[in-house]
Symmetry: C2
């Protein structure tokens, strides 16, 4: 599979947009980027090639941006914020590289996945390499608390991933388990990003808590939208393999809600569609048609919006500032997928 080059990288899009809103954030993001690249510099050309390729998956830098803007909104940015922003992005990239092995995904951000281009072996190793460098960078901040916080968060991310893997093929997955899974695999890292931003800006404990909740609510909304796009989206726009949740028998919110209200016959028909390997190519289209009935899609968008509203309320503890305004607008961006 050949790689397609973006006209403008996700990082550059985010940087330009933020620079227009509030210049210091764009500069913070550049400082984080510099640390990211310098930590991962390798003298082995093959390793460097994999690292460079994986950098293309990073996209719009949601997690470091969250950490840096929260720090600004909480009244003070310090060098440790730039380092920790690079750490959370590195952990996120590692999890994408390993996720693509699990999902047998072919394309991510318009580029071939590592597993497709260089094989599963290289993808396992590259993910581990990114992981260990993230912890090394965290340790080099000299803050044990940062190390503890980040390692606890990654434990939860992986517990979420393992629970998701375990429930693959479980067509009776409940909404409550679905939310447990996405709280771990997605929302824990956005929560810790905003929390670290606030903590190292020397915020009061209740502000740190509110910012963690903001990140968590934002992450949950983000994942619901991501799951909706897996069914509804267009591969050319999203730039990644779609329908992989369906192919891997991972139930997401629209299907869970459809099955919860369907008649036994309707449920049986969708379940047989899910498990029938002969229909894998037409599956996504058929599922799209089914869940588009009865207002289920609208209902899921509404749930995403509820989390976005909750995230906006979490910001009320903060004084007004340009950075706070950006955090507020990010809640909308998540639903519109500007992030």
């Amino acid at each position: 599979m050949s790689s397609v080059t973006n006209d403008l990288s996700g990082m550059e899009q985010t940087r330009r947009r933020l620079a227009a809103l509030y210049l210091p954030i764009a500069e913070d993001l550049e400082a984080c980027e510099k640390i990211y690249r310098s930590e991962l510099k390798s003298s082995v050309p093959f390793v460097q090639r994999l690292v460079d390729h994986a950098a293309r998956f990073q996209g719009k830098r949601l997690r470091p941006t969250l950490l840096l803007i929260t720090a600004r909104a909480c009244g003070g940015i310090r060098p440790i914020h730039h380092q920790l922003a690079a750490v959370v992005e590195m952990i996120h990239t590692a999890s994408l590289v390993h996720d693509d092995i699990l999902d047998e995904a072919m394309v991510r951000r318009h580029a071939a996945t590592i597993n497709v281009e260089w094989g599963n072996e290289s993808a396992v190793l590259l993910g581990d390499y990114l992981f260990t460098h993230a912890f090394h960078l965290a340790a080099s901040t000299g803050s044990t608390l940062a190390c503890q916080w980040i390692s606890r968060a990654t434990n939860r991310v992986w517990e979420g991933e393992m629970a998701q893997n375990y429930h693959r093929g479980d067509l009776d997955l409940t909404e409550s388990t679905y939310f447990d899974i996405i709280r771990g695999k997605t929302a824990e890292l956005t929560a810790v990003s905003a929390g670290l931003g606030a903590y190292f800006a020397e915020s009061e404990p209740q502000v740190v808590d509110s910012m963690e909740s903001y990140g968590r609510n934002l992450g949950i909304a983000f994942q619901i939208v991501d799951d909706l796009l897996d069914i509804l989206g267009d591969e050319r726009n999203t730039g990644k393999s779609l329908g992989t949740d369906l192919d891997k028998l991972k139930l997401t919110l629209p299907l869970i809600r459809y099955l919860a209200q369907a008649s036994p016959d309707e449920a049986a028909s969708v379940k047989s569609l899910m498990t029938d390997t002969d229909h894998s190519t037409s599956r996504r289209k058929a599922i799209k048609t089914v869940v588009s009935q009865d207002g289920i899609i609208d209902d899921c968008w509404r749930t995403a919006r509820d989390y976005v509203d909750a995230a906006r309320q979490n910001l009320e503890v903060l004084e007004d500032s340009p950075a706070k305004a950006i955090l507020s607008s990010m809640t909308e961006d998540v639903v519109k997928r500007a992030f």
Copy 2:
């Protein structure tokens, strides 16, 4: 593939042997084991099953034993030593689980590998889970220096693994590159184990350096013996898939030395044997015959012994003690593969 149960686990063998030599070490090892199990306790039954299964791969606990005995030999053991001993064992187990994916290995320590029993996906996730818990435990010691040391070591382990992966199929691999690879993938973790033992026993810097060198030399000897067994060993005794280095076109010391002294015709014949997939079943036997000529095997054992001798010399900085005597006897154990 069914799992075969050992009469006596590797841990129990090591514990009994050490208890006979010097009781406190056996107690240290039990304390480490308790921390290991408690850190990895999961409320998700599937996760716990994978963790329990992977515990069977741990074998004879070379790395935690090294750390704990070095601490005793350097004059003082503290609770942080037990925690760090669990950390190095967790990192080692994570690397075994991921290694088995890379090697497509079927059996480890007489048990089916995770990838064979539960698939590559579970193996990727379990390795990551063990990794993140290792870093969490390291961070919870409260020592940033321990976190830095451990994360730097894991970076080097993974650089070694990636370099090995890159050089797969390179039938002109030099001895110098081979040693670079094993210094990373194996000897870095044994070096850091002995180094941490000495450092947290509040040893002088030159003692810490000597203990690191001891661990490094021991690790290199261990890997050379491991590579020899991949060609010469018996699967029933070693309890793991053998010949995987050959199948994966990874050159090890005996072959590197054979090729370096072979005539062009002999070299071409061995290289064609290596790359001919039709002969994979008889390959190991044929390679064994070839490298058993010209004293090459003896020569490799001699090199392993040279590293063992160097390791024994590194111990000269220590005062005599029962723990020092055990460190000294471990150098012999490595060559005899009691470890």
